[in-house]
Point group: none
Chain length 231, copies 4
């Protein structure tokens, strides 16, 4: 396994490298109070760490590389996080929180259930599958068993809420006669499964056999809602 260190001479020099962030961050203003700068630094560390953790996994990630990528000195990381483990944990939380927020802001159920689910799927497609956020999901699957607190958090904040939402939608669909299979409400996982598989597929097998996730999800919805008359 070879190392490809992202070397840049000095922190300040490297600081320019900032990429699109997983974390919400205001890229605009030069306004930098003491507190602001600290927050920016923390965000840079979170981004860099996320990137490294995704690529190498928790254990194989070196704090040195995170620091380099974030454009800060190694010691700076310890001003924001207690140690590598809690950095990983806080990090996952930090990145997931916005997702939760979104989940909570469920669009009001107007229109057909299928439209709703489709909108949801299309959003998932755009924002998760094949993106950093998708990789994060895979990361959680990968490291979850060794970080029970992370798995716990993810289950509590994302999985259980998502499941509850899906179940509500399914029940609505059943009530409205859009969904025939009544037992589906017991297993919202079935509704979500292909989307999850798509996430994993992209990071493992995309190279061997690219997957048209959008099309697959449509077929899946056809299966559940019955084929659409008009595309």
């Amino acid at each position: 396994m070879t190392r490809k260190p992202t070397k840049t001479a000095t922190p300040s020099a490297a600081r320019a490298n900032a990429k699109a962030s997983v974390v919400a961050r205001s890229d605009e203003a030069p306004a930098s109070s003491r507190a602001t700068r600290a927050a920016e630094r923390r965000a840079a560390i979170v981004d860099a760490a996320m990137e490294e953790f995704i690529v190498r996994g928790f254990t194989a990630t070196r704090l040195d590389d995170i620091a380099k990528r974030a454009g800060v000195a190694k010691g700076t990381i310890y001003l924001h996080f207690k140690d590598k483990e809690s950095m990983f944990e806080e990090l996952v939380r930090t990145v997931i929180v916005p997702v939760v927020t979104k989940l909570n802001a469920l669009p009001p159920p107007t229109g057909s259930v299928r439209d709703l689910v489709e909108a949801f799927a299309s959003n998932f497609l755009k924002e998760v599958i094949g993106t950093r956020r998708g990789d994060l999901v895979r990361l959680i699957v990968a490291e979850g068993p060794r970080f029970p607190s992370v798995a716990d958090f993810y289950y509590r904040e994302v999985v259980s809420r998502g499941m509850a939402g899906m179940r509500a939608l399914i029940e609505l669909g059943i009530a409205r006669g859009e969904i025939r299979e009544k037992n589906l409400a017991r297993y919202p996982q079935i509704l979500v499964a292909p989307a999850m598989i798509a996430v994993i597929w992209q990071s493992l097998f995309a190279r061997h056999a690219p997957l048209d996730a959008q099309d697959m999800l449509r077929v899946h919805l056809d299966l559940i809602f019955g084929e659409r008359r008009t595309t």
Copy 2:
């Protein structure tokens, strides 16, 4: 993250500890030619390594622990494998091969397609979900991106074959009128997705919300084949 070292004083003493093996191994005979003994040792290493890799992941696994668990000296591992990485790679191959063999021995398509798929699902349920082999799948998901050769191998030997088999079944089901959704043949992943989700669920969330995988798979099949008249 704490270590729970499996300490046993001497290799020979530990050798007795052998558990159920993921690898086919003749547990019977005391007959031990030179070659046989070597093969046994190798098998012990493979088992031990698998166990450790599953629990800790590739990087966090120590050869010391593998050696202890296998009841051999650390150096012995290097008589069988070039280094840790190639051990991991060969290992996955070794464990996967029997699976492939089974896949190739597809039962001849007699009876209804649903029965076939159900038999398959029930077998998967028993042999994979919630078992060591299931954990192996998660391991591949976890380490795949860092071990392209492993992902390649897994795709080539398991995924693509499995997909081809599933596709054939689906096409048969469509031809026989058992499956209505014609586009499903394009995405055998949909057929398999809930099973995969079940595998992952067991190792991540079983504790929070146990999943009746068998029931879930039945609902899924009902969705695809239409509800059964008689159970």
Copy 3:
């Protein structure tokens, strides 16, 4: 070896914590000219540092802890001392100076020599043995070899003067016939040795076997001056 950090939220808050100082300091007036405030800060640092150095030794002491204990920011220390080493050196000087001053103010030799020595011992007993100042002696013994300048200073300012004083007393005692052993004047160390041992004993073994230093010193003086007729 565990840390027991003396955490106090802010410098200003902690500033109140000031304890009895090893350093002479005017605790009275709220009068605080610029210079006074600086001097107070310096004194606070000296006290805090002394405490930490005594407990942990030079190398193991962290400037962070000194700053916290002194109720100043870390950077402030560098406004008063060049670096950790010179802080240690200046510090020892600072604390020792008053001792020297006292030594120089030898009480005029009235009364018997034994009375003089006894007064001296009793003072030592009260002010050194088992006190912070005693710990300082142990600190010098501990760090002396690595801080020649400290050892030098201590020898020049305290040891050599003290020895000279003791020698003078001994000679007087011999002249007056109070002390029989004429060679004692060559080794004032013998006169002082039990006191030094008492100092060390208190910080190392007091817990195992408490030592009645006062009684021991009396026995020692009896040995030198001959037993007292009346107690």
Copy 4:
């Protein structure tokens, strides 16, 4: 504080550097079974560590330097000691044990008590004052408070035994009329104090004022036993 690293290219090369050992070690035979070699290595580490600890103190000593001096790789140290702290503790024990053994083999009290004590003192003079073993005593004084287990051990094995021995001698001396001061038996520390002071003096002030320890001890004994008629 400057570093004077004892650099030698390779462990094997450095191995030759072996000096006089504080630890009993057979320098003779080329006989080197596996076990023997391990013991030799351990002894080399103990010696090197002792040297470094004495010169720099516990915290300031680097394992790197110990390894270099011992002519082993850094990792090797961890084959013999759990960590730096327990190395220090075991080390002190290791070095002290022979001393204890000797103490236990007290010469049978023939001849005058003074002769006995004088023999003892002369031995102490030769073997402790101004030697590595003397430095060890100072080391214990220096680090004792931070290593209670070390102080405990030293008290239990050396101090308390030594005190008991001295007390017995003193009582014998009193019984025989060699010692006049009857209370001395309560404080054997007085008997030993000048010897201890000599130990400390040598490492701190020898440079400024060399001390004729032998002569001083004689004067001290004269004080206790009364002046000798013939020298």
